[in-house]
């Protein structure tokens, strides 16, 4: 439009409006499939756990890995399409993939405390995977909040875990400039724990959408204008649906997670307790690969790498990714640069 008179610009805007109207029609009729792209079956439903086993590649010789996904988002983001599937990349590296998908939060969940998720749910899933595969110790991969759960479980029950992969996992909850911590400043978590109510998923969605909303706006305009490949466009729509679909948070467990960890930073202070048992990071006796994103706005890199100061250096390794939180989980670059390496590390030494 440079150098053109204002009348030309207005004509160009009229043409954009036409594309916009047609985009509206397309998007309204677009039935973007949600959910998993890799065949899977639910092998265990118990309490908040819906354990899925992915049917991909030969089972023989594959090393089982149990993925613990965060409870604040839907887990299907790790298998959102074949080109953006952590599940497939891990399977390609010789792993037999199980995933702890969480059941939809109901009112009955509001009284459940963190121990139900950290001890019981992960314990039940590990028992099942052990029984199904014959492996006594199981590889565990925890993502984001699921990483904190997995790490805590591995400290509390060190004999159960063979290798521990942590992905964008908060450990030092006061490190860096965390929007989550800032937003939780005025919330009365002790009252929430005493009078638990499930916290609306809309608030979580709002937070995830708050990174760079106007950057999103620019991307939307590019899509409306047709400057995006069809496959990218479909992926984007799936991601939009995912971001918009955060589950309600079980009240008491959420209050503990936010109050004990974001509020009082108990995990690195050594005062975090689950069902009366202290979570001592020094009890970790399994090899750990800590995968973090250098531009993570939700879990600042320092929050993840703080773990290194608490663990035997001979057991500890880091794998940085030059990108953001969600990018490390789904981006095409993470699929090439990070997930295969994590997969090889997990399946090594079988």
């Amino acid at each position: 439009m440079n150098g053109r008179p204002a009348a030309d610009i207005r004509q160009e805007l009229d043409r954009f409006r036409e594309r916009y109207r047609s985009f509206n029609r397309d998007i309204e009729s677009n039935a973007v499939a949600r959910g998993w792209c890799t065949p899977n079956r639910v092998v265990l439903e118990k309490g908040p756990v819906r354990l899925r086993e992915f049917i991909v590649g030969p089972e023989e010789g594959a090393v089982p890995v149990l993925i613990v996904y965060s409870h604040v988002n839907r887990a299907d983001v790790i298998d959102i399409d074949p080109d953006h599937s952590m599940v497939r990349r891990l399977a390609e590296a010789g792993n037999r993939v199980f995933l702890m998908d969480w059941a939809r939060t109901s009112d009955a969940d509001r009284e459940k405390d963190l121990s139900v998720y950290v001890l019981d749910a992960i314990g039940d899933a590990l028992d099942f995977v052990s029984g199904a595969t014959g492996f006594e110790r199981i590889n565990l991969v925890g993502i984001c909040q699921g990483g904190t759960f997995a790490l805590s479980h591995a400290c509390l029950r060190p004999g159960r875990v063979r290798r521990l992969g942590l992905v964008v996992t908060p450990v030092d909850f006061h490190a860096g400039d965390s929007l989550i911590r800032l937003w939780s400043r005025h919330i009365r978590f002790t009252r929430l724990a005493a009078h638990p109510v499930n916290v609306p998923g809309e608030l979580i969605t709002l937070m995830f959408r708050s990174a760079r909303p106007f950057d999103d706006l620019r991307r939307h305009v590019r899509r409306i204008d047709g400057h995006e490949e069809d496959s990218d466009f479909e992926f984007s729509l799936r991601m939009d649906r995912w971001v918009h679909d955060c589950p309600d948070q079980p009240g008491r467990a959420f209050a503990q997670f936010m109050g004990d960890l974001y509020g009082e930073n108990r995990l690195v202070r050594g005062t975090f307790e689950v069902r009366g048992e202290a979570v001592d990071l020094k009890r970790l006796e399994t090899p750990v690969l800590n995968v973090f994103a250098e531009s993570d706005h939700l879990v600042p890199p320092g929050s993840s790498t703080a773990l290194g100061a608490h663990v035997d250096p001979g057991l500890y390794g880091e794998l940085p990714f030059g990108g953001g939180h969600i990018g490390l989980i789904v981006s095409a670059r993470a699929q090439r640069e990070v997930h295969p390496e994590l997969g090889r590390w997990l399946s090594a030494g079988r």
Binding site: M1, N2, P5, Y20, V243
Partner: protein
Amino acid sequence: MNNVSEHPTEPGPFQKYLFSGACYVSIGQCYARFVELLERDAAPAAMAELHPRLVEIWQEAFGQQMALAGGLLENPLVNRQPGLDRVMRGFQEEVLAQGREAMESFLETLAGHRDHIPDFPEFFQAWAEACDLAYGNLVRSDPFTEMIGLVVNGCIDLAAAGQDP
């Protein structure tokens, strides 16, 4: 469709595309007017005229981001939270102040390029960057975090009211 505010604000996974399109057109109209005034060699007038409209678009764009939380604010116990009026007033003032400052800075940047009239993609890009900066400041501000606390505490009070004997 000519105005951002004409668009429905009912949240949904794809509604933001529709809003973004409308927003783009609104900014395009500002740009057309900007070029028109520059053609008449009236740069100061362009700045003065566009500022309030750009602030308005910012407020609408921010409101759209917040639409998800809007339903929660209608909850009676959230409504009855002590200090709600003060918090909401402080929040609205902060939205306005951040928007005014960001759009002033955006227009000053444009005015600084006397030898070069930006094309629309440049104009739009600079506008979005100014808004992102203002948004980042806003969601980290005391009035905003206070409002989030109030909404969640209201939900907690609702639960407590139902649970107390």
